[in-house]
């Protein structure tokens, strides 16, 4: 019996060994901030923002593919490549942005844990510290890879949104029309939600993550075509889920004019599928998604920073030699966890705002990526093609434009 069990796990791990970086990164994209933001997009604005999602999907595919390509050619993480080509000052700037964005995202993850447990009536003062300790303990003592895989399996929970999306019988025609019909409201809440939608899909950390993943997995440039296809498929898959989250909440919450102020509200969207169990199902999904992010982000942050600044990294280093590495991980777990413990914190808003921070900082990271990928000395024959450049620059300026518009509307008080 034990042998059979072992074989089963072996196979399961094998399957995830084959699944490439594109799908993993994409899946981890739908974390606590992601689910919440997509739910809010659908609940507050119905189908109005679907066109943004379509554009973002294209941008996600393009930017992730660039990350893969840089990784395959340079065999280094993004932090290392930036350091070797831009010097210490620019590296510090880029790394500061990444650190801030990542701390924001981890905060969203712990807010997700708090929200998930509040649904089943467990106080965040118990849930969040325990979750933070569990993350640290498993990272330090346990197997990061196995844990990551377990939560990845859990996050297959998103399939319920797709099934749910069919059960609620949404107006698919209207949804398809919305996908290609740009509508925009020049108000602060709309722009804030829109930037969060962009920032939760294409993230600074995602850019670092996919590149490191390609390098660590030992993928070679001859796998490039396959990887490209995989990344494109991953982008499609993650946004397919986002699409169904949005139409599910649009068909339920938006229809009845319910705003999401609490995770319980977002769970209502799953009622058509799960009935009274919707709350539990949502709580479980939110928890799994949060924990997946809470595992990946602190580690990814620490690895990138150490690579850029030449500090020793890895869980096989001792406390003495790898002190900085461990301190970064500890800080990026416990600062966000402590923040979430502030009484009466609006958890849902925190989750969405953190995605705004990601969205606002993203263009700057993308500019580094663009400088690198168009440098012939670094990329050789693998420099960007014009199409990729146009889409990437449109993304960069699109987000900057949205940010400027946000500043303008909020200073004019256009609510």
């Amino acid at each position: 019996m034990r042998k059979i069990f072992k074989k089963f796990w072996f196979k399961l791990i094998l399957i995830f060994g084959v699944i490439g970086p594109g799908i993993i990164a994409a899946n981890a994209d739908n974390d606590a901030g992601g689910i919440t933001t997509y739910s809010a997009v659908g609940a507050h604005y119905g189908l109005k923002m679907l066109w943004v999602l379509l554009l973002v999907t294209v941008s996600l595919a393009i930017t992730q593919e660039m990350g893969v390509r840089i990784g395959l050619v340079t065999r280094q993480g993004l932090g290392g490549v930036i350091r070797e080509n831009f010097g210490v000052r620019w590296t510090s700037f880029a790394m500061l942005l990444m650190f801030v964005a990542n701390i924001g995202t981890v905060t969203a993850e712990f807010a997700g844990v708090a929200a998930a447990f509040s649904i089943i009536g467990v106080s965040k003062y118990i849930a969040v510290p325990l979750a933070a300790l569990a993350v640290w303990f498993i990272l330090y003592k346990g197997s990061f890879k196995t844990t990551q895989k377990i939560f990845l399996v859990f996050s297959a929970f998103y399939i319920v949104y797709i099934i749910n999306g069919f059960i609620v019988r949404p107006d698919f025609n209207a949804a398809l029309v919305s996908l290609v019909t740009p509508t925009i409201e020049w108000t602060t809440p709309f722009l804030l939600t829109m930037i969060a939608l962009i920032g939760t899909t294409i993230t600074p950390w995602g850019q670092f993550f996919i590149q490191s993943y390609v390098v660590d997995k030992g993928l070679d440039i001859k796998h490039y075509k396959l990887e490209k296809a995989e990344v494109f498929f991953g982008a499609f898959l993650t946004d397919l889920v986002s699409f169904f989250i949005i139409i599910s909440t649009a068909a339920t919450l938006y229809k009845y004019g319910i705003d999401i102020t609490d995770a319980k509200d977002a769970a209502v969207a799953l009622r058509p599928l799960a009935g009274n169990l919707a709350q539990f199902l949502f709580a479980f999904g939110l928890f799994a998604a949060s924990m997946l992010g809470a595992f990946i982000l602190p580690t990814a942050t620490a690895y990138s920073l150490c690579e850029a600044f030449g500090w020793e990294s890895g869980f096989n280093t001792t406390w003495r030699t790898g002190r900085t590495f461990y301190i970064i991980i500890l800080l990026s777990i416990f600062i966000p966890a402590a923040f979430v413990l502030i009484p009466k914190l609006p958890l849902v808003k925190i989750m969405i705002w953190s995605q705004d921070i990601n969205g606002i900082l993203l263009p700057f990271i993308l500019i580094f990526v663009m400088k690198i990928i168009n440098n012939k000395r670094i990329m050789g024959e693998y420099v960007n093609k014009p199409v990729g450049n146009v889409i990437a620059w449109l993304t960069i300026f699109g987000i900057i434009g949205a940010t400027v518009a946000l500043v303008v509307t909020s200073s004019l008080g256009m609510n």
Binding site: Q76, G87, R89, F309, G310
Partner: protein, 410 residues
Amino acid sequence: MSIIFCTNMLYLSQILNSKIKDSSDKTIGRLKDISVKSKAGAYAPLDFLIVKGKRRKEYVIPYEFVENLSKEEITLKSLFKSIPNESLPESHAYLNRDVLDQQIVDLEGARVVRVNDLKLGLFEDRMSVLGIDISNKGLLRRLGLERFDFLDLLKVSFIDWRKAQPIKGILKLDTMSKDLTKLHPADLANIVEDLSLKQGSKLVRTLDAEMAAKVFEEIEPAVKKILVSYLGPEKASQIVEKMSADEIADLLQSLPREERDRFLSLLQNGKLKKVERLIKYRKDTAGGLMNMDYMSAGQDWTVAHTLDEIRRVYPSMRSVLYVYVIGKREVLKGTVSLRRLISAKSNVKLKDIMKRMQKRAVIRPNQSIEDIVSVMTKYNLYTAAVVDEKNTMIGMVAIDDVMRCLAPKA
């Protein structure tokens, strides 16, 4: 780490981008880079200044023309017009482009570190690169924030330039430090893993095939696999040939079929047979773990003859802890430990001192790693014989093969 004494402390970061004036006090441009003549095991004297002038024009100024190189100013001895404009020497290392911010190998610490700054100073009356600053203080200096550390909490730590091996840029065999090849193959393997693949493969290329093979055996399987394709068939097969049969088998199992066949076709006959036999077994079984370089002897051999034989063949063996006594058709009859062997009289025959083969103290090729561990623990074995159903000895599993499976990270 050796401390470098020097009268005028000067860091590369303090002079990069400084204005350069000629003898008429006319600014000719800003310092973009400095090239050095790098020789293994010696401080590198500055050779040329690369100056970025007006309209992005670049000038190359031989270091002989430099009058003063300091934080405050860089001045030249003669008029700019009178300095011959040389073309960029290709075979040189450039400090800003190839060393600063790049990874280098710290030969003493056997690790890969990132260069935060470079320390320059006089050595035998020539301005040279003396040390590599890898400290956080160096980072602060680069950021222009050094004054924030007014309490001097951060310490500068240097690597002596002579004990470092730059990797980027031109890397030739003759500029490779001898200390590099003195490192233990396992340490070198770690370094290769830490470097980017481009630089790691460059490093492997500069080693001779024998050393490269030893390093290769220690490299993580996943990295090894890519390295092989990165090195190209010619270099890779030179290295693979020198590896032991079990390591070759492991490597070939992870390669696609056509590549595997190509390597197999390049092996000599004797090794080819061993590899082909090994390749049939699964990696995580005794058959996949075992190696075939064990010491075997006949029952009627005398102790003296056996010891002579060990002296003859030991270079090809990784360990000779036991002599395996073999009967007809390679059937395992018993074992003699090295301890027993050297303490026995020289005319005694092996069959009289050997421990008879016990069915439970040997390993079958399809047994798992857990089974191997329990047999080795129970019978206190450092190496265990692998036999088939007819008790024919087909290989040996050594404790280090088992350890590598149990602690793959080390």
